[in-house]
């Protein structure tokens, strides 16, 4: 098999956490939700938005198309992305080979 080689009280705390989330949700709810398909940014934008949140972004040329396919499944779990976002980013990365 050829392997392609190529990274006391918790009540107040809960209230604070709930308040923070409520404020954030309230701020975010000013814009009504729309059809995801109509509003999904392009792969390049999604790559920039998601792949740089935790680590420096690796260039598309660093891995092959097949390797990106494997990596994107892993990153979908880690970064918390939808299937549509994952496919768009993968297409962008594969186009950069």
């Amino acid at each position: 098999m050829r392997v392609q080689l190529v990274g006391p009280s918790h009540g107040p705390t809960a209230l604070v956490a709930a308040a923070v989330l409520a404020l954030a949700l309230g701020a975010g709810c000013m814009k009504p939700a729309t059809d995801v398909r109509d509003e999904l940014p392009g792969g390049a934008q999604l790559w920039s938005d998601n792949c740089g949140r935790c680590h420096n972004m690796r260039p598309p040329s660093q891995y092959s198309s097949k390797e990106w396919g494997i990596i994107m499944i892993h990153m979908r779990v880690r970064a918390g992305m939808t299937g549509a976002e994952t496919r768009a980013i993968r297409a962008f990365l594969e186009s950069g080979q």
């Binding site: 050829r2 006391p8 923070v20 949140r53 992305m81």
Partner: protein
């Protein structure tokens, strides 16, 4: 006429030969594509620490990460940590899990998992991703309050609405093993309990699995560069060799995370805040202190002038972190302030240098230096 027939027969033979060759090449390509379902990646690092008394400590890490796609919807991944520290080498299975994509919004997994608790544990703990040479105390393995691993199942997903996003993960599986420290107690790696732990809620050993734990994390991203999270972990643990009754542990965390290019600063800002509170609820006992909670937090800010023209300047990064971990049974907390300077040779290859002031529960402040070369491959 005879020549034309012979030519036709010869042509037919050539076509047959070409068809055979095409079939052979197709078969080879299929084998090749199957082999590319496996992939090896990983992390490596070398760390030197200069303590306050000028003594030196060294550590090296090799952490391979295996991927194997069993199906277009199924990925198996495993991560090993092979670490040399303080003269001894340890091998640890960091995680080994099978993930299955159910649909665009749901993924389920099973195996040994990183607990989806907080932001640091799953997203930032990897050596070349962590912007400092060491971990914040509150989330550090075997030292902190945050749960780090479990053996069990997890479901997770994401939602997108315009520019807003939400992520969620839930889990059910093994609970940590509660250790009630005494001078003779050791945790799973057979090292003496850190002095900072002391009695009371005790340390949680996430390498011994039994009982149960459940919980999850919800994250909200009002804009792509900002994520707010809340995590909860509830576990029934058994104290090892203790006459005390079973313990119910509640651990909560909030996290705030930001990363974006700031044009006014001509660079990238990266900020993280994570606060964790853990408490123990014994069903019945008389010996535990009234205060059975323990908290900690860290706040970190990094800046890199990524938008300047000077290449070497654009690769430099300044990082500062404050972290704190409560003492136990009324002891003073441990507080640290760290200032670091990184040079990113490549996006996943970095040289780190940091100075750290430690304010221990007792005694004077100490100063240490940390140096690390870390890379992801």
């Amino acid at each position: 006429m005879r020549t034309t027939v012979e030519e036709l027969f010869a042509l037919g033979e050539e076509v047959d030969e070409l068809r055979t060759q095409a079939e052979e090449h197709t078969a080879k390509l299929a084998v090749s594509e199957g082999a590319l379902r496996a992939m090896l990646a990983g992390t490596t690092s070398t760390t030197m620490t200069v303590e306050d008394d000028h003594s030196l400590r060294y550590a090296a890490l090799f952490a391979p990460h295996f991927f194997w796609t069993l199906h277009e919807r199924a990925l198996f991944e495993a991560h090993l940590d092979l670490k040399l520290a303080d003269g001894s080498t340890g091998l640890n299975l960091e995680f080994a899990a099978l993930w299955f994509t159910v649909n665009d919004s749901l993924t389920i997994g099973a195996g040994k998992l990183l607990t989806p608790f907080g932001f640091y544990n799953e997203q930032l703990h990897t050596t070349w991703i962590n912007r400092l040479p060491d971990e914040p105390l509150v989330v550090a393995d075997h030292v902190g309050v945050s749960p780090t691993h479990l053996v069990g199942v997890s479901a997770r997903g994401a939602w997108r609405g315009g520019t807003q996003r939400a992520v969620w993960a839930v889990f059910f599986g093994s609970a940590p093993h509660a250790l009630l420290p005494s001078p003779s107690n050791t945790h799973s790696h057979s090292e003496p309990m850190p002095v900072v732990m002391g009695p009371a809620t005790g340390a949680l050993d996430y390498d011994r699995y039994h009982r149960w734990a459940t919980g999850g994390r919800a994250g909200y991203l009002p804009i792509p560069s900002l994520e707010l999270g809340y995590s909860l972990h509830v576990a029934r643990v058994d104290p090892r060799g203790s006459p005390l009754a079973r313990i119910l542990m509640f651990t909560q965390a909030i996290d705030v995370n930001y990363n974006d290019v700031v044009p006014a600063l001509r660079g990238t800002l990266d900020a993280h805040l994570e606060a964790v509170l853990g408490s123990a609820q014994p069903q019945e006992h008389d010996d535990w202190p009234a205060d059975r909670s323990r908290a900690g937090l860290y706040a970190q800010l990094a800046y890199r002038p990524s938008e300047v023209d000077a290449q070497h300047l654009a690769r430099l990064e300044v990082v500062t972190r404050y972290d704190r971990l409560d003492g136990i049974k009324g002891n003073q907390p441990t507080e640290r302030a760290t200032l670091g300077l990184n040079y990113w040779i490549q996006p996943s290859l970095v040289i780190k240098a940091a100075a750290q002031v430690v304010d221990p529960p007792t005694g004077d402040n100490t100063l240490r230096g940390l140096f690390q070369l870390a890379g992801g491959f």
